[in-house]
Symmetry: C2
Subunit: 114 residues, 2 copies
């Protein structure tokens, strides 16, 4: 998967996996892998900063927990985040439609005088 292709879609992916159950960063990475059938291998250096950014702009909140002696920062969707996710979903639908449409192979143009 070309990394650049993810640009601008990361937020949607992240918000989507925490939609119904709050998850910590590491679990989010695993969820992304699982839901994509292994296609999405998003590095920690991408996910952790992105989650903090989403928290900073109010789409997520986080709280620390200790499980099995390990500290986790668990992220939860806010109301703002839920609205954002809705918007991201419809933006994705439009985007996929537009790009898919342009990429669609055309029948070869008939040549003048051909």
């Amino acid at each position: 998967m070309n990394p650049d292709a993810l640009r601008g879609h990361m937020d949607a992916l992240l918000l989507s996996v925490v939609e119904y159950e709050p998850l910590h960063g590491y679990a989010i990475i695993e969820a992304l892998q699982e839901r994509s059938g292994g296609a999405l291998n998003v590095p920690t250096g991408t996910v952790y900063p992105a989650l903090r950014r989403l928290e900073r702009i109010g789409h997520l909140t986080s709280e620390w927990a200790t499980v099995g002696g390990r500290k986790r920062r668990t992220y939860r969707l806010t109301d703002s985040g839920r609205k954002q996710l809705e918007g991201e979903r419809s933006a994705w639908a439009e985007f996929a439609n537009v790009i898919g449409g342009v990429l669609q192979p055309r029948a070869k143009q008939p040549e003048a005088g051909g």
Copy 2:
């Protein structure tokens, strides 16, 4: 259309519109607009450098022409570009499938003891 979303898909779009007929930059921008039903308004500052990049890496060739007193640089797909376009198309199909799959809303998880 969020500009960041185009990242990594620009090449595919550009190669796709010159697949059957060579076009110059300005016409490529118009073709993109037309094929997308007006959704794709790609600025010249994006398209011209991108075309030169695609030429530099061998996916396009260009030649100058003068039409109606104006100079045009017309771009044509190379064999390498044709292969690249094929790859971009299948990459897009996989990408759209993966992102669409992850974004797909799930039924709410049943709670333990609920």
